[in-house]
Symmetry: C2
Subunit: 458 residues, 2 copies
């Protein structure tokens, strides 16, 4: 938890952004999420919006903010003697509330009454979308059927711009992510089981942080984006995609991807594609600065990628037309990046479009571009990922060929020789600064083909 | 997943145990549990009852079993091309269903129809209690207001007795737990942060198993049972309680506790209490055999504990009377043990009393004994934990003294000198065999005071 003044300032700022709105805003913190049964839960994780405004890192807290009077109340139950036996001495709700600058507190059940009284008076109830099933049930029981767009917009506009305190925390998470990836890279050896590397890598963030910031991707099938099984033996000559990050003890995320040659050196064919992805990553970073939209950066990367694939005779034709036709989506069916902060996809629970798109932007329907989570015009304090990738996905390529979706620009006979290739992604975390951008964390993970091979040989 | 025949046999057995019941049984598997938002979920964990009868280790599956006709249907959705891009080639629902011996399959949404048709015909709907919030919502939406006691009883009676296949899996989980604890013990050094040991220990099960079987307890405050923060620096002369276990890749649990002297050797005062807890653990193991109730074993431990505390002049009076008066609860406010299997507290979601108590047993209201999760008469194939502990909990002692709850048998002036002591617990996992009991896992973790000190010196 930060100093009390941090939360007072954040809530005052939120209230100012909501000036003119009437009613009350309701914030419902998380409860423990059962893994097996109510007493065997997953590792505790507080709701990020709650953490941002109220900081208290304990389950079963809620709060209301009166948008007109500014009155704030925190709802939670004090501990009984039984709780103290099982969980040790705990501070009172009142003292926790005071530690984040909230002077009123009440039992958890009083939230129901506060909301129903406000509703009875015809007042508006503002809430964010429920990210977890418990919160969905709780909101339903409170009669909150719909999230409040004004509240979401106010929160998004505020949380999109990270202040110095937050940037320092993200730097810490990135340093921990650097250590995780270093441990993983050092563990890659033909004949080991993938899961062993996962364990060694996650140990780093469990030992020094909150844990992984999302379920680790570590796979010799980089073309499968959400591959969460790690049973395979590491084979020679493969590419291993490792997409993993740390959550710091203050709950800020990092998110890095590197793609390693399992034998320590890239083959000529692997190196060609790797170099191209690396060039795309570098291009994106060089373009990232206030004033440009991240959609423009994504499209510049798409153009660079298609140029490179054209040089390899995998696609043929005019690059600009291919960009316009969304051909890059066949090779990179995801977006260039997303916002990052307290969440690894920051505020994704608030709605991808409201978080990642300006009012004058419309989300594309093209494969790849439609998955771009962050398209906004950049301002200093934005934190985004830069994560281009090239994948050869037999099922997708087969579908495009069958449906002639490429308009004739794809050289399928060449492309089909890549069916056993897998995929490559290179991802860094980037802060938009007043005059450009900075890669977060003290040191950058080895990224160029030479740097990676050198690090693996060390 | 095991062979198809395992699931066919288990379901046939269940159906036989439900002979005479009418209607359909509904099994709802887990869905992914969001940690931050719907796309950033906790590590996938299937529902244990589902795993036991249907084995398919994928989210968003459900099944019905017609208790009269025996007809079985699995409900799940096949993957789209988009799913395949993100998650790779996946077997069809039909082939997954066939792999566990179920010949009918239908889309997930068809479950709603199947249940409402059955209800319309006035048929009974049997379901187990919802362990997670999603399942609670789903059951509500299906109009299932109440769990079925006949179904719970049939499942409990079956799952309480582990067969050779399950015992082999629990042995594996115990071997992994042995490795975890060995890594932890080797990591204890004054000056380190507790969290570092947690990371090193959890790495073992992440590298070779599914992960920890429950949130790790690792604390120099053993008197706080559910202490899940690990921020403290390891101090000299303290006792460190480590209660942690592994979940194997087949989802069976282990659960061990050891209490280490942070400086490598127990002080004389620590050794006295440690020896007593060790004697209680040994006594419980020696009594564990078919025919005895685990309640009797708990009470024998309570007597042994009070004898030892009497020898230390912490309590005074007749041991049998003190046992009857529940005085042991002041020192061990938890039960001696619980069932273990696919869940670390096996089947706790099905209701503690139906799982842990015979029909002719009544749960106690005494502190300690009332928390006994497993009280049943033992039969071969039961797997239970043996986990006595002695704790000095200032808040609890203060409450007993103030309310004179001890009837005069507690020597508070002596007891209060233990306020800085902490707590000690020693826990093994035990299989009830036809002629006695066996500690699970190939090797027992060092347990006696000498064994522990020797292991720490190594």
């Amino acid at each position: 938890m930060f100093e009390k003044s941090v939360y007072l300032k954040r809530r005052a700022e939120l209230l100012a952004r909501l000036k003119g709105q009437s009613g009350i805003a309701v914030f419902i913190g998380n409860v423990d999420a059962p893994a097996q049964y109510r007493d065997n839960c997953y590792k505790w994780r507080q709701n990020s919006t709650w953490l941002y405004y109220f900081g208290i890192d304990e389950p079963r807290f809620a709060a209301t903010v009166d948008l007109e009077s500014g009155e704030e109340t925190i709802y939670a139950d004090d501990f009984t003697i039984d709780d103290i036996i099982w969980m040790g001495p705990m501070p009172s709700v009142k003292s926790l509330a005071e530690s984040v600058g909230v002077s009123h507190s009440a039992p958890y059940a009083a939230l129901d009454q506060a909301v129903s009284e406000a509703k009875a008076k015809g007042r508006q109830i503002h809430a964010i979308p429920a990210a977890r099933y418990y919160n969905e049930m709780k909101q339903r029981s409170l009669g909150i059927d719909q999230a409040s767009e004004p509240l979401i917009r106010a929160i998004v506009s505020q949380r999109l711009v990270k202040d110095a305190l937050e940037i320092a925390e993200i730097d810490k998470a990135c340093n921990l992510g650097y250590e995780m990836h270093t441990a993983a890279r050092n563990g890659i050896r033909v004949g080991r089981i993938e899961q062993e590397i996962v364990g060694e890598m996650e140990a780093v963030t469990l030992a020094k942080g909150w844990g992984p910031s999302f379920p680790t991707i570590l796979t010799q099938h980089g073309e499968i984006f959400h591959c969460h099984t790690h049973e395979c033996i590491i084979e020679p000559g493969k590419l291993m995609v490792i997409d993993a990050g740390a959550e710091s003890n203050s709950h800020y995320a990092s998110d890095f991807t590197r793609t390693y040659p399992t034998s320590g050196r890239y083959s000529a064919r692997q190196r060609d594609i790797y170099q191209l992805v690396y060039d795309c990553n570098e291009l994106a970073f060089s373009l990232t600065r206030p004033g440009i939209t991240y959609r423009e950066v994504h499209l510049a990367v798409a153009a660079r990628m298609l140029e490179g694939l054209k040089a390899l005779d995998i696609v043929r034709g005019d690059v600009d037309s291919m960009v316009a036709d969304g051909i890059a989506g066949l090779f990179m069916p995801h977006g260039l990046g997303h916002n990052m902060g307290l969440d690894v996809h920051d505020m994704e629970d608030l709605g991808e479009d409201l978080v990642g798109y300006d009012d004058d932007q419309k989300r594309s329907t093209q494969l790849g571009l439609r998955s771009l989570r962050m398209a906004r015009r950049l301002v200093p304090g934005n934190v985004v990922t830069d994560e281009p990738g090239i994948y050869f996905i037999p099922a997708l390529i087969g579908q495009w060929k069958k449906e002639a979706k490429d308009g004739g620009c794809v050289n399928y006979s060449k492309l089909e020789t890549y069916f056993d290739f897998g995929g490559i992604r290179i991802e860094d975390d980037v802060l938009v600064t007043p005059d450009g951008a900075r890669r977060l964390g003290d040191k950058r993970l080895p990224a160029s083909p030479d740097e990676v091979e050198e690090a693996m040989a060390a």
